[in-house]
């Protein structure tokens, strides 16, 4: 307990310097902005802003990038409630009841409860990261290559199970992502692999290039083909502070949502996206009158909103303790850390304690800022939402181009981004979800390294992955998850969850 408090005070000491408060504020503002705007996500934004962080000190840079990520969760719900469009993938379920509440003139209350729920969830998640950080780091130091490999396999299986649509397609995307990660010079033999003889590919494909192509440019083309109908709430937003009755109805959903979201967020393989769905389903099951859901039930906003924010933050746990990024945003954080010479993993906590705890403390400060800055700025966000997409996408385009060019000052990176945009668009047309591919790509290099090491240690025997107890258990969990997901009854239920 003493160590826990000592760590937190070190963290707040770092996070509360004027510089870091400023970066935290900038991150939260930018995050809210991209969260509010549909069609711009945190992935493209962080990829875009990476070059800007080169000149900053690592702590400030990471505090800002983290702020963008969880700030986007707040912003996403604003759009969901006011426009009937999810600003972010994680606010899809908030649309259901949030927009209904807005239509009934209770937009303010919906926004208020979303912000309060998110703040509560963010606080709990921050404490959870601080509490779990140390024990998990100790656990991680016991992990050998075989355990790491099995853990990543488990993460990929989770990603398959949690992805929308066909399981076979998700597996194909993971494999394609792993295949893409092998492009470049082989670290052990120095041979060039799959580079097509191109000099620019000998260092491998840059993650920012891939992510920007697939999540930035492909999305623009996809958005252009379905002209959106934005249904911005015209009625007054109403009072922001929820009343006594509202609080009474929502404090339990907030608690349950926080718990569900936090647990799912820790899972490798982007469990955070599932949090809001799970929370919504749970609230509907527990409600005395489930028919209220979809017609403006406040529980349907409070639970999922708490869950998405809790999940967004606990997703940092696998990254900070094990060095395994659970989703694309975390992979970009790895990129940002590497630029500053920090190798993510268990050693971060001991080697850079001020960075580790400073970042965690800044998350709580950021959540507080978001609560304070978000609600008064709603008028501004509404005005921003009225900007038509035909003016927004050229802006996204040029920001992405400048961002990608500046990462390596390379025009070929820009060309590759256009190429991957085209690939991403093709994949969308074929009904593939690109997220699992990105995760496969992110984990690919580390997995290959650990696989090779483990097989050298076991003298080429695959049995090592099953015989070592921890590794065996992880693989068993992965297999069980996959089998359960393939059972016909569960498959049906899974489809229903995603349809809702």
């Amino acid at each position: 307990m003493e160590a826990f408090l000592g760590n937190l005070s070190l963290g707040f000491g770092t996070a509360l310097t004027l510089n870091n408060i400023f970066f935290c504020f900038i991150g939260c503002m930018v995050g809210t902005l991209v969260g509010v705007l549909p069609g711009v996500g945190p992935i493209a934004t962080i990829a875009m802003l990476l070059p800007i962080t080169f000149g900053l000190d690592p702590t400030g840079a990471l505090i800002m990038l983290a702020g963008i990520y969880y700030g986007a969760q707040y912003g996403g719900s604003t759009t969901a409630i006011l426009v009937n469009l999810p600003g972010e993938a994680t606010s899809v379920v908030t649309v259901l009841d949030g927009h209904q509440m807005a239509k009934q003139g209770r937009a303010g209350v919906a926004l208020g409860i979303a912000a309060i729920g998110s703040f509560f969830a963010g606080t709990v998640a921050t404490l959870l990261i601080a509490a779990l950080g140390q024990p998990l780091t100790k656990l991680a130091q016991l992990f050998g290559p075989a355990e790491y490999f099995s853990l990543m396999i488990m993460g990929l299986v989770f990603a398959v199970v949690l992805a929308r649509g066909s399981i076979l397609k998700a597996i194909c995307m993971i494999l394609a992502g792993l295949l893409l990660s092998t492009v470049g010079t082989d670290l052990e033999t120095g041979q060039e692999r799959l580079t097509l003889g191109l000099q620019d590919l000998s260092d491998g494909i840059d993650f920012a290039v891939l992510a920007m192509g697939i999540f930035g440019f492909a999305e623009i083309v996809r958005n252009l083909e379905n002209p959106e109908t934005r249904d911005v709430v015209q009625r007054a937003v109403g009072r922001l502070l929820p009343g006594k009755e509202d609080f009474k109805q929502s404090y339990k959903p907030i608690l349950r949502g926080t718990f569900l979201g936090a647990i799912l967020g820790i899972l490798p393989g982007n469990g955070a996206v599932l949090g809001p769905f799970a929370a919504y389903t749970l609230e509907k099951k527990l409600a005395k009158d489930p028919s209220r859901f979809g017609r403006g039930a406040i529980e349907g906003v409070a639970g999922p909103e708490a869950a998405n924010n809790a999940g967004a933050q606990t997703a940092f746990i696998p990254l900070l303790t094990l060095g395994i990024p659970p989703n694309a945003v975390m992979a970009l954080m790895v990129g940002a850390m590497t630029i500053h010479g920090i190798i993510p993993g268990p050693q971060v906590m001991t080697k850079n304690p001020d960075l580790f705890w400073g970042m965690i403390a800044s998350m709580w400060i950021g959540n507080l800022m978001l609560l304070v800055i978000n609600l008064p700025l709603i008028g501004l966000w509404i005005r921003l939402l009225k900007v038509p997409y035909r003016m927004m996408f050229p802006a996204i385009m040029i920001f992405c181009c400048i961002g990608i060019y500046s990462v390596n000052n390379s025009t070929s990176d820009v060309l590759f981004t256009a190429f991957f945009g085209l690939v991403g668009y093709t994949l969308l047309k074929f009904g593939f979800e690109p997220a699992p591919m990105l995760l496969g790509f992110v984990l690919g290099k580390l997995m290959e390294e650990k696989l090779r090491q483990a097989l050298i240690l076991s003298r080429g025997s695959f049995a090592t992955f099953v015989e070592r107890p921890v590794s065996g258990v992880l693989l068993a969990i992965a297999v069980i998850m996959l089998v359960i997901a393939l059972l016909p009854s569960v498959r049906k239920g899974r489809d229903e969850v995603f349809v809702e």
Partner: protein, 169 residues
Amino acid sequence: MSHQTSPNDRKPSSFGIRCGQDFAAGLFLIAIGLFAFWQAQTLGRGTLNAMGAGMLPQSLAVMVAIGGIGLVITSLLVDGPRLERWSLRGAFFIFGGIVLFALTIRTLGLVVAGPLAMVFGSIGSEEFRWKESVIFAVILTAICILLFKVMLRLPIPVIGSVLEPILPF
């Protein structure tokens, strides 16, 4: 958000391709797998004890192709959505705009590459309007120069290598 066509507009067919989307997706994956395998062919596979550079790319390429075959087979057995119409206009102008940016940023600089890429990309939208788009692109380029060059000091060329000697200042 759903990009799958609703079950109502599926064409009922008793034989042949029942899910055009999966069929095409499968062929696409098979092509990728074959291409990658062909490219990685010359790399040494090594043994499990000491894996060579080619072991993983080759096995992954085979697995991707097998996944593709699986998709083709299911597309013949299970009903599913047809392949959607492609938005060629959007794709051509957006990706074309980015390529234009890449080709002109060094030589002509952001002052030309920015508006060029943005206006070209804007044509990709059905709601394109010349005047609005040009004015907007010029203003946004000015903002970008201010933000990225002046404030953040990124080494992005504002006036390219071709324009620089011509300009009087």
